[in-house]
Amino acid sequence: MGGVKRSIIKMATFTGSMAPVLVLWLAMSLSGTWAVDKGNFKTCDQSAFCKRQRALKPGDSPYRALLETMELTNTRLTLQLINDNNKVRLLLELYRLQGNMTRVKINELKPLKPRFEVPDVLITEPSTEPLSLLSQDENGVVLSLGTESQRVIISARPFRLDIMEGPEVLMSLNSRGLLAFEHLRMRKDTFSYKVTSTVASVWDNIKRLFSSQAEPEGEKKEEADPANQAEKEEEEKVDGMWEETFKSHSDSKPNGPSAISLDFSLPGVEHVYGIPEHADTLRLKTTDNGDPYRLYNLDVFQYELYNPMALYGAVPVMLAHKAQRTTGIFWLNAAETWVDISSNTAGKTVFGKMLDYVQGSSETPQTDVRWISESGIIDVFIMLGPTPKDVFSQYASLTGTQSFPPLAAVGYHQCRWNYNDQEDVASVDAGFDEHDIPYDYIWLDIEHTDGKRYFTWDSHKFASPKEMLQALEDKKRKMVAIVDPHIKVDSNYKIHNEIRNKGFYIKNKDGGDYEGWCWPGSAGYPDFTRPDMRAWWASMFAYDQYEGTAENLYTWNDMNEPSVFNGPEVTMHKDAVHGAWEHRDVHNLYGLYVQMATAEGQIQRSGGVERPFVLTRAFFAGSQRYGAVWTGDNAAEWDHLKVSIPMCLSLGLVGISFCGADVGGFFKSPSTELLVRWYQTGAYQPFFRAHAHLDTPRREPWLFGPENTALIRDVVRQRYTLLPYWYQQFYHAYRTGEPIMRPLWVEYPQDPATFALDDEFLIGKDLLVHPVTEEGARGVTAYLPGKDQVWFDVHTFQKHNGAQSLYIPVTMSSIPVFQRGGSIIPRKMRVRRSSSCMTHDPYTLYVALNLQRTAEGELYIDDGHTFNYEKKEFIHRRLSFAKNMLSSVNLATDAEFSTGSWIERIVILGASKPSKVTLKTADGQESQLEFDFDASMSVLTLRKPGVNAGLDWNVMLQ
């Protein structure tokens, strides 16, 4: 899918009566540059609140904890903070949450009007655990966080919060004094007031000169002396607090300044990760010499790589890692957010006797992080690990886990903007059969609609969609059609009329329906923050509402940042109105809601039986619950192929496992070599979809000569043989929140050599993939982690030792993939037309022995498409090899499912030759298995155990 570029084309080929701003874009596109036009997007300096906040430098915090206001119940501590500069009071809430987390909330004690708190992201109100007071004096308070000698130290003057475990400081808040809270205020800018306040403030200053050092206590002063505050506001007004313009757009800011900021210090930490979406390395960089990382969902046209610019989605979660511990910070705020990262700077002041035993010299590495958001409150979840998997489970307990997709969605997806008509769809479908390449979904982009009216079909090109869907169903294949959240303003369009009549559109600042330009021309944007709107939207996916649809049609939500071609930064005006809130407050949530409502619609249309599949471009914390994401409009360039790895790794770390990049690159046309390499990489990433821009030549897999067709066929088939493993990984992600595609450090947290690796990755914990992402590569150097670990090349079965960098010569057919010694991976070797065709096929088990000659793995089987797994209708078995015996035991004795699949073959890597192999089934029957032993590679293949995959059995090597 395209961003701005697409608009240009449409506008050019449609009519000439377009808004002048589009003409401007036209001109820009003609300039012929490929890179993003950075001028369309704000730098921190151009974003008034970021500039204001960043101008604050580390130092003494003006905030003081008023310990006398402390209230401690069993589960909650509250405490007032006061800003000594303006005497505005804040309310601090502190919770100990189950699973080793601490939640810190800071809001104004008495805000002029309520400040936005993000709803619908947490799956439930998190369960709390008791807090107890350990000690208290005038300098601060020490609280116990329950077990593990964890404490929170609240220092009063200045306010600061330290979380400790034993003698070690895990994290400090406001240690650099960057807590800031722009309180809501009345606008005071009439001329007479200005004069008075200026005079008053002068008088005030004179007065202050002669007054004693001891100032009157806070509240009194606040009431007695509003003039002081007014003076500040007068200054602040100049900084764009009450109005802000960017390019031709102005932001009316009726609520004035409302930014918040807080700093976090991470002693001992040199590696921080997460806060997607950025086209950057896995390990986040320090931002001292440039802009902070920005989180603001934007439709960025032809995005640039390796910089902190905002992209389509935002997950305000950062992971901090050092060899001994992994922690996480979840900053629950949906407004525009900037994150500064620096290392070994200020903030190491050891204060008071409470911190006397803090260890470490000034050389201890430290990373400091600072979050700045435009509005809302500070609501931060500190996930204390200690292991990476603990952090995943902590975060999952807050925002949920990856939705468990239908098995087919884990297969290969064939997309293009656009498959032109039904005939085109049929011929592409036939092409896959002709070239014997499996696929599960064919996709339709915006051109399939009647004039970009979603929920409709072009009556010429897609005259009989149900027939088309049936033809796909006959091959056990599926389709995805796009449904974007911008709705054509057209009184003959049912969807528009209903939304308008129900008052469901987002409003502009003056109260009318907000209108912007997008694919259909003038469009309205439904207010997805409203539950009643979402319910209505979901109902539109019913088969009798969305005409021409069937069970095998799924949905793609694009442009849901939301993209507004003529809006500021190609998105919605911040002063647009969602009921009681401004768009400013909810911006980063919009995309999540769109996907939420769409997925809900798909569930409802099947009566709650079938799993949905919805792809989204925009996302937020919690989006993992609703489907897949992709990295948006990338380009057919080698660097874009490379960056797909860290981009999806970063998403996986913050819960969004179902991630992929457009295979081949969206913009431009890939060289054949790049296309093949991209297929080879994409086949080993969770969401595997080829996509191409409307203006690019066709690139279906068979269009590049028989040799390249064979290369692509081979890798797509590799994907399909591994579907049982992938599916099991998805089930695992759904259960635990662990990433599917994961950085090496997650599995090898104590090996610093893995900390910054982002040209290779793991799928689950058992497959290591180092895709070839260099043009003309003759070889790659892969780091194989783990002392006393061995890795087996999955293609040659060659064994390699761990904890080494291995040079692997490559040809065009090579995809360096290794199976961990000690693992068992199930595959289905009979690759068929689509995943559904393989349902009843038998399994081949690849048992890779470690140095202890043991291995473990799992096998998960269910119907592949319904929610019946929630009703315990599945098979989950543990496969383990030890003492020359491989056995399958039930991991879920309370679950029940029957399968026709059986064990076809067992391949044991690193084996020695047995004299006899005996299979023993649950009923006690014993039989001898034939086997084949390849002495050169130490590979033992057991022929046809034939036992049903859902039963108990074991195989003994003698």
Partner: protein
């Protein structure tokens, strides 16, 4: 006796075994006649015969599992009685999708396949018959078109020769005119005298001969000669020898009159006449030459071994697809016109680009209107056999790359006739 019985038994079992091997054609039966063991067809391995079609792949080449989905390289033979037999990849055996029309591939699946071979066979036979009729008719039409093409080709060649003749004549005239003009200019410099009436008359007469040629060519009387006009009249000019010779005679007479060139000096008006005449002859000459090169260019195009595609040269074919009308003018250009009326070039004649076996199966038109993302529009036209000449479909699979299906009798190939239904009964 006992011995004989064993032989019979072996033979019988062997026969039965090969009969029940699923997924092989009769020509492969000989590989499956073993009783105890089976040799993989590639010779790589011997396996017990009971492991043939036991749903486990033993042979590298997949030959031991012709009837199951076990081997990745395997293939399954659909006998398809009543229709065409064919192979499908093993991966399509028991996958729940009916691939063989005789339903033989789904012997152990949930799919309920009906034997549809007879119906398919019927349909195919009807289709093939239709195709044959089309082909027969098409080939007859093609023969006519070939004959017409040959005639047309000769005509064009003749036309070219005639044009060349005119050009030669005009060149001669041109040279004469040029020398006359030079003479006039030279005389003017020597004796600048006012013109005399008598001389004027003479030149008007002279002029009238040139004008005559001009008028002859300038059929629409707009005062200038167009390529089309020359093309239309050249034959006339040359056929009517009398007119031509009269003209030539007049020109010769004028030129040849001894006194004219030497004695009575030219006046200003004469010089002007002379200049005008020269210009007109030059124009005529250029026009004819342009026409010659144009015709040469056209004749340089490959119209097939029998000039059978020549008749398409001056034709255009239209097809409306949704909001666009497409026009294919073979050997010239392809255009697209929107309902709003704007016309876009989808390419100008490029070349034949058919596969080696069917060189004239595809034409390419290139360098049409430029595209947004660089490059220019182009169109590939596939020619298929039909009884009429018409544009059948237009598609734009990728932006700016159009493909057309163009039906015409001249695309009919006799080789097609050999197609038919082979059925192993």
């Amino acid at each position: 006796m006992h011995f004989h019985m064993i032989i019979v038994a072996v033979f019988w079992f062997g026969f039965v075994d090969s009969r029940k091997i699923r997924g092989i054609s009769s020509s492969y039966k000989r590989f499956f006649r073993e009783r105890k063991s089976f040799l993989c067809i590639d010779g790589s391995k011997i396996i017990p015969f009971e492991q043939v079609n036991d749903d486990y792949c033993d042979c590298e080449d997949g030959s031991d599992e012709p009837g199951t989905s076990a081997c990745p390289q395997g293939r399954f033979y659909c006998t398809n009685l009543g229709f065409r037999p064919h192979y499908i990849p093993s991966s399509r055996v028991n996958d729940g999708i009916c691939d063989c029309c005789d339903a033989s591939d789904e012997y152990n699946s949930h799919a309920h396949c009906q034997n549809a071979c007879w119906n398919l066979g019927q349909r195919e036979r009807a289709y093939v018959e239709g195709q044959m009729r089309t082909l027969d008719e098409g080939l007859q039409l093609k023969q006519q078109l070939i004959e017409e093409g040959v005639l047309l080709w000769r005509e064009k060649q003749a036309q070219l020769r005639e044009l060349q003749q005119v050009a030669e004549d005009l060149q001669t005239k041109l040279e004469e005119r040029r020398s006359r003009k030079q003479e006039a200019d030279r005389l003017k410099e020597q004796t600048p005298r006012p013109p005399e009436a008598g001389d004027g008359r003479l030149f008007r007469g002279q002029n009238s001969t040139v004008t005559g040629t001009f008028k002859l060519l300038d059929s629409n009387k707009d005062g200038s000669i167009t390529v089309d006009e020359v093309q239309a009249k050249v034959a006339l000019v040359h056929d009517e020898e009398r007119v031509l010779s009269e003209d030539e005679a007049v020109i010769k007479d004028t030129h040849g009159a001894p006194g004219v060139g030497e004695d009575p000096p030219l006046k200003v008006a004469d010089r002007e006449w002379e200049a005008t005449n020269l210009k007109k002859v030059e124009e005529a000459y250029d026009t004819v030459n342009m026409e010659i090169s144009d015709l040469r260019e056209k004749l340089a195009i490959d119209y097939g071994p029998d000039w059978e595609f020549l008749f398409l040269n001056s034709q255009c074919y239209k097809l409306k697809v949704y909001e666009y009308t497409y026009t294919l003018c073979p050997f010239n250009q392809v255009t697209q016109q929107s309902t709003a009326g704007t016309e876009v070039s989808l390419g100008r004649w490029g070349m034949w680009e058919g596969p080696p076996k069917n060189q004239y199966g595809r034409m390419v038109y290139e360098n049409g209107e430029p595209c947004w993302q660089g490059g220019s529009r182009s169109t590939t036209v596939t020619l298929t056999c039909g009884t009429e000449t018409a544009l059948r479909s237009v598609k734009e699979p990728s932006k700016c790359q159009y493909i057309m299906d163009f039906q015409t009798p001249v695309a009919c190939q006799p080789v097609l006739k050999q197609r038919g239904i082979h059925s192993e009964l």
